[in-house]
């Protein structure tokens, strides 16, 4: 079982801050976990291409193997500072 956490607009899309994903096995990659998640939460589909994934304080690539001991964190496009991304 793996905890998956959502940030930003993904909380609205997923309808909560996190879900518990059943059946994830050791050795699975981020891509494999996202494929499982897509089945559980079809509403995430349009966001999958532009989201980043993290575990702990680091981003992880899609081809990396998940650490089952800590949550997988899904991070949608960011908007720090003020104004839009190309302005301020």
């Amino acid at each position: 079982m793996l905890d998956v956490e959502f940030y930003g607009v993904l909380r609205q899309v997923a309808g909560g801050r996190s879900v518990q994903l059943e059946g994830v096995e050791g050795g699975e990659t981020v891509d494999q976990v996202l494929a499982r998640l897509r089945q559980e939460l079809p509403a995430l589909e349009p966001h999958l291409s532009r989201l980043a994934c993290a575990q702990g304080d680091r981003l992880i690539r899609r081809d990396q193997v998940i650490d089952l001991q800590q949550p997988l964190v899904l991070l949608p496009p960011v908007s720090g500072g003020s104004g839009g991304p190309d302005t301020v």
């Binding site: 930003g8 980043a52 575990q55 702990g56 690539r61 003020s82």
Partner: protein, 148 residues
């Protein structure tokens, strides 16, 4: 030193923290909640962050900015929570010997923050509605990804 806070940002504190008698130039950037977005009236914003990563990103960005531009001081703070129009959401303070370096370093720090910092904002509009602003896909620093 913290880089993320729910408290109002304190420019005077960052100016004191970065005092350096060798520096002839200081450049400050402040990002401020404005009263409009995409033609709609805005009453405030809510900033949320992925905390564990956000603090590390800003700490590394300070060090990277100092090294890359040869400046003496760089401090960055970002605020989270509910902000009103006119409040500052981010402060960048750079000090250097020469003003050109200070301007370029501050510009780099805020431009880079906007693609690397896991922060999201939800606009509250004058018509009572709210929406997350779209942003840019989060980018890792080249060396920032966990090794496989």
């Amino acid at each position: 030193m913290s880089h993320m806070t729910e408290q109002p940002l304190d420019l005077d504190a960052l100016i004191r923290e970065t005092e350096n008698e060798t520096c002839g130039a200081m450049v400050v950037f402040s990002g401020i909640v404005r009263n409009h977005h995409d033609g709609r009236g805005v009453t405030g914003m809510d900033y949320s962050a992925y905390g564990p990563m956000a603090d590390r990103v800003l700490e590394e960005l300070e060090a990277e900015t100092i090294e890359r531009f040869g400046v003496q001081e760089c401090r960055i703070m970002h605020r989270t929570g509910r902000l009103e129009v006119g409040e500052s959401s981010v402060l960048v303070v750079v000090r250097s010997h020469h003003r050109g370096d200070a301007f370029e370093a501050a510009r780099y720090a805020i431009d880079t923050l906007k693609v690397r910092l896991p922060v999201w904002k939800e606009d509250f509009y004058t018509d009572g509605s709210a929406a997350y602003q779209d942003g840019v896909a989060l980018q890792a620093r080249d060396t920032g990804e966990r090794e496989p």
